[in-house]
């Protein structure tokens, strides 16, 4: 793990990547999940960096720990992610070039993506699904022993931009993905109107989004919830991060289970992120 990963989160991120499961990150408008998502990406890429030692280990009979990442960004630009990854010590352009990372750009539909990413025809669920399947084929053809981690940022946005898409369709795509790859990490907005709209007076988008958000929580093994402080704004604290077991959590019998907990975090663009418990210094 690089120094950019807060030590508190290291074991959770490690387990989420190693397990064959779905991990859901929820965010609120004030506390986006960008920094957390980039750390998932960076730790998966850094595992695949030890490619030479992995080959040597394989010859000794140890299992391959070679990760390839497919990163889908629905409405954030590649520059945003590159900038964040650069602060963590990883160059995304190089990773794309050496095909450790496959980037699918939701902002560059119609095939005019500049950086050699997979082309996406339209921002619809069907096209995204086709693009993902071709990306999986490409990556597993190159290295059949590698484990593919799919990271999707903003899949809930498809509910808003494509009104005919329902939460059932999105969950179908995610389940299909989970059966094809090693693990999936996805984000979901969890603002009040998008999480607590359960009565019939809510708009169709709110109802669909609530169904999707709660459905993703039920299917995830671990749930990372970012939200602002309840007491208001603070200069030293950006918000709180709560890590809970999702609906699909299972105890790994034998090994010690990770405990649920809530920590405070502070993210500064130039300094990275600090995570600490309440009451600690």
């Amino acid at each position: 793990m690089s120094s950019s990963m807060p030590p508190v989160l290291a074991s959770y991120v490690q387990q989420c990547i190693d397990d064959r499961s779905l991990t859901t990150l929820t965010s609120v408008l004030d506390t986006p999940t960008n920094w957390l998502l980039i750390r998932f990406l960076v730790s998966a890429l850094q595992k695949s960096n030890h490619g030479n030692s992995a080959a040597a280990a394989q010859s000794r009979g140890a299992p391959a720990n070679n990760y390839k990442v497919i990163f889908v960004s629905v409405f954030r630009s590649f520059d945003t992610w590159s900038e964040l990854a650069r602060k963590c010590g990883v160059n995304l352009q190089d990773a794309v070039a050496s095909s450790k990372l496959c980037y699918i750009d939701g902002l560059a539909v119609g095939g005019n993506s500049p950086i050699g990413a997979m082309p996406l025809e339209n921002l619809t669920l069907r096209d995204l699904n086709l693009c993902l399947i071709s990306a999986i084929k490409v990556l597993s053809a190159e290295d059949p022993s590698s484990k593919i981690l799919v990271i999707i940022d903003g899949i809930d946005f498809l509910l808003a931009c494509q009104p005919k898409t329902s939460s059932n369709d999105i969950q179908q795509v995610l389940l299909e993905l989970q059966s094809l790859v090693h693990g999936v990490v996805t984000t979901c907005a969890a603002d009040s109107a998008l999480l607590h709209s359960t009565d019939a007076s809510a708009t169709p988008l709110e109802l669909e989004h609530t169904t999707l958000a709660r459905g993703l929580a039920h299917q995830a093994r671990w749930l990372f919830q970012l939200r602002p402080l309840e007491t208001g704004q603070s200069k030293e604290v950006s918000g709180s991060i709560r890590i809970s077991r999702g609906g699909a959590w299972e105890s790994n019998e034998g090994a010690r289970d990770l405990v649920e907990g809530e920590w405070l975090f502070h993210f500064r663009n130039d300094e990275g992120v600090k995570v600490w418990g309440r009451g600690e210094a």
Partner: protein
Amino acid sequence: MAHTNSSHRRTHNILLISKLLNQREGASPFTLVLDNLEQPAKPLLKEFIRRANSSKSHVVFLAFETARTPPGIDTFIPCWNKNFQQIVQAVRSAITSAVKRCLIVIDGLNALCKMSAQPRSTLDLTSFLMSLLQPPQQTPQNSPSLVAVYHQDMPLHTSANPYSPGPLSLLEYSATTIMTVHSLSILLAEKQAKEKSLGAPSFGLAEQKEGLVVGLKPQARSIPSDQRGIVIQLEHRRRSGRGLLEWYFLPQRLPSKPYSASSKEPVLLLDDHPLFRKPELVPETTDQDLAGVTFELNLTTRQRMERDGVVLPYFDAQKAGGGGEGGRILYDMGAEDDFDEEEDEI
């Protein structure tokens, strides 16, 4: 009297939950499990599957929310990419090919309920579920049983027709057993709050806080590891129409102590759980407790006779019929009183 009643209730109810979890012949054709994010039903489903495996039943798993085959499943049918006719087809072929009794497990009914509530849907929820329960033609006595999970915190869908009941009402009506799973730490927190006459705390989505999906339960760590598990609220409906309500506790399976092949039932009544046991009533003090005290409460025979012989005052009131004809004032004249013949009368 109370003791025999409670021990009778205990044996009877534990036998019932054992019959239901083991899915004995015809015990409960359709078991509905209601859960939420605070306590998912996965441990309970694992228990059903474990018992089906040990009783050599064939387990068919209809996966609406699970991507990979869980352990102990004989037939895994991914349902997210099929329409409901294909699902019924797949289930029927799995049941006919297996010669033994079948247990059908559905990990999430919410997707189906949503489909059936669409305006132009052709899916009729009850007929779909009943078609899954049709026994195979060769062995009509081997009817399958169904265990299905419904997540209570997903938004309710009203059905397309405003005059017909919603999917959850239909499910609750047609189920023969309803098991609602609760989190032990939440029940403990509610019990502690009630003992202090405070309001019950809310967890997770019930807190209605922005960005909070699952609640933090600090009490979970204070429970000793051999007392952890899930709480099941059971409602069982018999053929006669009589219903039975009971709360049970299913202990968590510790890897160091696997279930032995013995027939002891691990499920307890919630009242028997160490943290929920009501304190026993203090038994009446026996004579031995008062042995060293000189204070004597019992009467000897002579004292009893003397007591019977005491004449109590107010003779008139002792007469049967309420002496004084119901309200008349009876006054005994004292030394200083004068009796005036005009004013006072007897």
